[in-house]
Subunit: 416 residues, 2 copies
Amino acid sequence: MKQSMTFIPTLREDPKEAEISSHKFMLRAGYIKQVAAGVYAYLPLALRSLKKVETIIREELDKIGCAELLMPALQPAELWQESGRWNQYGDTLMRMKDRHDRDFALGPTHEEVITYLVRDVLNSYKKLPVSLYQIQTKFRDELRPRFGLMRGREFVMKDAYSFHDSYESLNKTYNDFYQAYTNIFTRCGLHFRAVQADSGNIGGSESCEFMALTEVGEDTIVYSDSSDFAANIEVYNLPEGAPSPDGKGTIRHAKGIEVGHIFKLGTKYSSAMKAQFKDENNNLKDIIMGCYGIGVSRVLMAVIEQNHDDNGIIWPKALAPYDVHVIIIDTKNEKQVQTANYLEDLLTKNNYEVLVDDRNERPGVKFVESDLIGLPVRITLGRSLEQGLVEVKFRNSQDKVEIKLEDLLTYLKNNY
Amino acid sequence: MKQSMTFIPTLREDPKEAEISSHKFMLRAGYIKQVAAGVYAYLPLALRSLKKVETIIREELDKIGCAELLMPALQPAELWQESGRWNQYGDTLMRMKDRHDRDFALGPTHEEVITYLVRDVLNSYKKLPVSLYQIQTKFRDELRPRFGLMRGREFVMKDAYSFHDSYESLNKTYNDFYQAYTNIFTRCGLHFRAVQADSGNIGGSESCEFMALTEVGEDTIVYSDSSDFAANIEVYNLPEGAPSPDGKGTIRHAKGIEVGHIFKLGTKYSSAMKAQFKDENNNLKDIIMGCYGIGVSRVLMAVIEQNHDDNGIIWPKALAPYDVHVIIIDTKNEKQVQTANYLEDLLTKNNYEVLVDDRNERPGVKFVESDLIGLPVRITLGRSLEQGLVEVKFRNSQDKVEIKLEDLLTYLKNNY
């Protein structure tokens, strides 16, 4: 993709409203733009990274036999009245009336709708278990939206729901999701820990939060650098730097960004909304449920929070919007322009995603913006191209090397 | 995918509310389920087909250099007041207030938001043209929602917007979209015509509707079976069966389902919202815009409307949720079950998408539901499997053939 043809509205100054690095860089590098408080447009670079998170999620949930569907954002109030949450949920539930004066909620979560969809269908133990998920835009009228995509009023979530005839079956699926989440966040390049958690107002009996470890975030986490051991500091008040319980590592403190959450819901919704199945003895019972969320847009923020320097984002390969940034130093130099086209074509055919800076801008501006945007590989086409050389620099290193044009593909394959 | 693990809530009876075949079959075959009037959940089968339409759209728009982004559904009233549409749009605009009593619209279209995003950024002729698109959920409070996904209140659209410094540039991009749309609808397997159209309340100077030709739909179209020639019957009142103007074909009448629409918007929004650029002489001018929509969920309805029989849907290959339906006649027969697993694995590795009916249901039920669901290829594992034979039937034909298991893959490759 030519940079002149896409839309990357970089900012020269740090935006005043951004308190944390990920928010600052997503705004400055032209990934997102605010449309209203807590409401953002995902510009082309952010959307590409977002779709990579989504693809990873889909692949890992497919593996555990979870089927994808898509539920509506508009939810009739009647369903929320059935579950009792229409009155409980408070002001964060966005409400509206249609032209016939009927009440609707804009879905912040979909327990009611999914329970409505499966009841009377999953009506026998023979049809259970089933797990369903969606990746969808959610709405939550936060009192104080902040940190960009971290605490927004409109955001992208993956929410999954499972349905069971026994707690053994729920436990098995819960463990499948635990493993799938571990795979997803690992593949996204996140440094994270799983923490036993309160289930809040979703209800239910057991839950676990997946927390990305950063210097910012809303909870303080105690973890060991040698194991999966992690807890909220309220639960384990161990001092920073102490030996970890396994004797192999050291206790660390970090702030946590919640990127995932898995719940054993039990029968809270099925009982309130009469979603029942017949067991082997023909007895009617409430379906046992689990629910499993990932803050898809939050994952982006957390990854950037963990991967940046003073100059901008440093994308891990898995989520980078493009792999390679080709910089044309002089757009009036025909050889540089032709070589950029040649490289875009060659690298694309070899499954690299390429962004070509073909804009008529000063080299200094291009380099600053390239660092801001943070693609893993930068290839500069400048004067030394006359000698058949291109400059290669990785975003996560200061080293630059000059490579013969004909050796470039091999070099990339060996080093990226 | 095993049918027992996904969610396909078929209905035994024709749903009363469905007036047209596509709506009836999407409900009966468990593709969609209504959550409120004009508001549907896309169940797993429908979502798979929807994603295939989306992929075709993305591939064709990539080819014409259009970059994808994702704008929010929540749109602050201020933007609609700037364009003047807050008061003009009427009751189909879904409106709400946030907790601070600020007015928002749920986007039925995104001219205001995209103009807000690009203004002050695309501020020079050097930065033009740019084309941007999104595939996103839209909201429209239809007075009488009907025909399922055809006239819904929440639906999936692809909307694109282009920005230009001259009408020549707009015309070129408009023609690019015309060609891209032709490719998209052709690849979707649609029988369609492009019709010059009123631009309605979007405003602007020239527009063209892409109409899927069916027996149902909201406009009567006059077209020739020998060419692209088509018009609304109000414009060309030619009799059915008359020779077409090119002398090579015959005039036909059909009802049209609008699946796409391309507009030359001109400066309606840029002028109202002050989205301006400096030309080569440093004069400020209004950006010239185009906009281009596809009703993604509507495409599904139109394709089904054109491809069904009395028993159910007959998917064209490009949009089928799965390619192959493997039917296990007797789920207690270990050989049948093992062969189903073997085939699922083999065919998946060969890039076929496979749904296995592993449910403990009577064969009659399975065949009826298989026809309803409408996957292109049905493979039945029954008694003749003892002789190493499987039955293959294509959904668009009555013929059944028995094939040796070891020849099946070759047979499929040659015939599908």
